[in-house]
């Protein structure tokens, strides 16, 4: 949060002069002025830079861009109308609706519960805190199919709790909640840890009650982290396969999620259909990432 840490050396040198003159202050981090590559006259540095950039671009192209482009291309083999027809078959549409709907719900629950858990972990002291700390990451480390198995054992037909969520949409939501738990917690926690407690004390001495302090001081500082954690949880949810495949029972038009639907379409040799659904997921994920980036810029604006 301190300017010395987030600012580049250029900005640090510029700032006092700018402030003294009363001219606009240095542009915020990440603005075009600053992220432009350094204009070094040295040829050697340029060559080095070009080589690095070339390698990185090539690698990204081979590993990410070309495969993605191939999927998009494949999905539009029969033209846009064909793509649309594939996406809107009752089976695909139902799977996409369920996936996106459940993911939105899961993201929302994560936004609230993840923040709450992060809060408790940072601000409260209780026995077994270390254990909970480790537990939070378990859904990250666990193979998702194992997560699915665990959930089936607990919430399946032979549930020891008497809660049977198998072959139901609620089962899908629970599975997604399980695997996405760490995202919001782990993005909010460090921000909360670094949050300047003086700010809260200053607000208190100015007459703000606890609710006001949370709403007007703490929440605005946490919001970018909360939202980017939520976006991550959402992105993970729409792509989830392993954890949902067992508990959902894969009933088409009911509990089949998009990732499983893609798998099914490949199995039945409908590659174009699989590619079309994939492309939709890809677009939704891309949209979410762009939104996340915008949010982070918005958050960095003031630091």
């Amino acid at each position: 949060m301190s300017p010395s840490r987030t600012d580049g050396p250029v900005a640090a040198a510029d700032r006092p002069a700018l402030v003294r003159d009363g001219r606009p202050a240095a542009p915020p981090a990440g603005s075009p002025e600053r992220s432009r590559s350094p204009r070094s006259p040295r040829l050697r540095r340029r060559v080095g830079l070009g080589l690095g950039l070339g390698t990185a671009t090539l690698y990204l192209s081979l590993v990410v861009l070309i495969p993605l482009a191939a999927v998009v291309w494949r999905s539009t083999e029969d033209g846009l109308a064909g793509f649309w027809a594939q996406v809107t078959t009752p089976e695909s549409a139902s799977a996409l609706r369920l996936t996106i709907g459940a993911s939105l719900l899961v993201a929302l629950v994560n936004l609230v519960m993840g923040t709450l858990i992060a809060w408790v972990l940072v601000r409260d002291d209780f026995p077994g805190k270390r254990v909970v700390e480790v537990l939070i990451d378990l859904p990250f480390a666990l193979p998702t199919i194992v997560a699915g198995l665990v959930l089936l054992a607990l919430y399946g037909p032979s549930s020891p709790l008497g809660v049977d969520l198998a072959y139901a949409r609620s089962g899908v939501v629970v599975a997604l909640l399980f695997v996405t738990l760490p995202f919001v917690v782990r993005t909010v926690q460090p921000v909360l840890l670094e949050l300047d407690r003086d700010m809260e004390e200053a607000a208190a001495s100015l007459g703000a009650g606890r609710g006001t302090i949370f709403r007007r001081i703490i929440l605005p500082s946490l919001l970018p982290a909360m939202l980017s954690g939520t976006a991550l949880a959402f992105a993970r949810s729409i792509s989830e396969f392993g954890s949902t495949v067992l508990i959902s029972g894969n009933i088409p038009f009911d509990t089949q999620v998009a990732a499983v639907s893609i798998f099914g379409q490949i199995e039945s040799d409908n590659v174009t259909g699989a590619a079309a659904v994939s492309t939709v997921l890809l677009l939704v994920a891309l949209l979410m990432l762009v939104a996340m980036d915008l949010l982070q810029r918005w958050g960095a604006r003031r630091d």
């Binding site: 949060m1 300017p3 700032r15 006092p16 402030v19 009363g22 202050a25 240095a26 300047d196 003086d198 700010m199 004390e201 200053a202 607000a203 208190a204 001495s205 100015l206 007459g207 703000a208 009650g209 006001t212 007007r216 001081i217 605005p220 500082s221 604006r301 003031r302 630091d303």
Partner: protein, 317 residues
């Protein structure tokens, strides 16, 4: 008046304050001065209600505030690291306390404008704190604290995070501001020069206890202990007594009450000259003027005769 009576505070095993009682008069500018860990910040935070004392009471302007929350004490608090609300503009920061009090919009705008003029930040109203220098941020924090018209203004090492030049400017500025605003002000510092320059009254604290209370002159001229004497300025030893080095007289011939000493080194520092001496094998030093040094005409190896001046304040050690 702020009346602190018999306040003690422990953090675990550590006794931060031991039975501290001190009165701070209304309208004064008082420094809590002492080394780190001496309890001065803890005392300030207890006055603000940010910490609860284990025992003792705090009275602010006649009201027992010991169990009042910080929200209801009517104190303004300024932190060493500004505690700026980073997501609000300068205007938003200063307006915060007034918005909490649900003042009419027009009144808030007018009041904030007035305060920003007071702290010379009127052109910066729409900046974010990250776009301000440290000194500007601290001035904003001061305006924010003053906005709610506090009964007392408390500043915890307010210039501690600033570089030397800005710190000097802000010190002088705080003094002028206080002469304008007259709100009872208490600030914490470990810098004796800062305390001497800014404060009307200094409370010297160490080891969780008040060592001495007085005006800067009082404390410098009549320190109650060797600790206070040493903390407020340079000291030197003459014949088992602690005196100020400028109160040491150097003579070329022995007189009543003088001690012979060997000159080790003569260091000229512009107007003042520092003479390092050995008295009976013990090192000591004296501070004399350039004129006195010229008259004495001493060089290393010479024997001189020294005594504490008649006016000197002495403390036996």
């Amino acid at each position: 008046m702020i009346r602190v009576s018999n306040v003690s505070k422990n953090f675990g095993e550590f006794a931060a304050l031991r039975d501290v009682s001190v009165d701070i008069p209304s309208g004064s500018l008082t420094a809590l001065l002492g080394p780190s860990g001496g309890g001065k910040s803890t005392l300030l935070r207890i006055i603000a209600g940010l910490e609860d004392p284990d025992t003792g009471t705090v009275e602010i302007e006649g009201e027992d505030s010991t169990h009042l929350s910080p929200q209801h004490r009517g104190v303004g608090f300024v932190f060493q690291h500004y505690a700026a609300f980073k997501h609000m503009t300068v205007f938003g920061n200063v307006a915060f306390g007034l918005e909490i009090r649900k003042r009419p919009k027009a009144e808030i705008t007018a009041r904030v404008q007035e305060l920003l003029e007071l702290v010379h930040l009127e052109q910066f109203a729409h900046r974010y704190p990250a776009q301000l220098s440290g000194g500007q941020r601290q001035r904003m924090a001061l305006a924010r604290a003053l906005a709610v018209e506090p009964k007392v203004l408390l500043l915890d090492e307010p210039f501690g995070a600033l570089d030397a030049q800005v710190r000097k400017e802000l010190r002088a500025w705080l003094r002028r501001l206080h002469d304008e605003v007259h709100v009872t002000t208490v600030f914490v510092t470990h810098d004796q020069e800062e305390a001497m320059e800014v404060a009307d009254e200094i409370v010297v604290m160490a080891g969780g206890e008040v060592q001495q209370v007085g005006s800067p002159d009082d404390l410098y001229e009549r320190p109650a202990s060797d600790f206070v004497m040493g903390f407020l300025g340079p000291t030197t030893r003459v014949g088992g007594e602690l005196v100020r080095p400028h109160d040491v007289e150097l003579l070329s011939h022995p007189e009543a009450g003088t001690l012979p000493a060997t000159v080790q080194r003569v260091v000229r520092l512009g107007f003042e000259v520092r003479v390092d001496l050995l008295v009976g094998g013990e090192p000591t030093w004296a501070q004399i003027t350039r004129e006195q040094a010229r008259r004495l005409g001493t060089v290393p190896g010479d024997t001189v005769h020294l005594r504490a001046a008649a006016v000197a304040h002495r403390i036996a050690v």
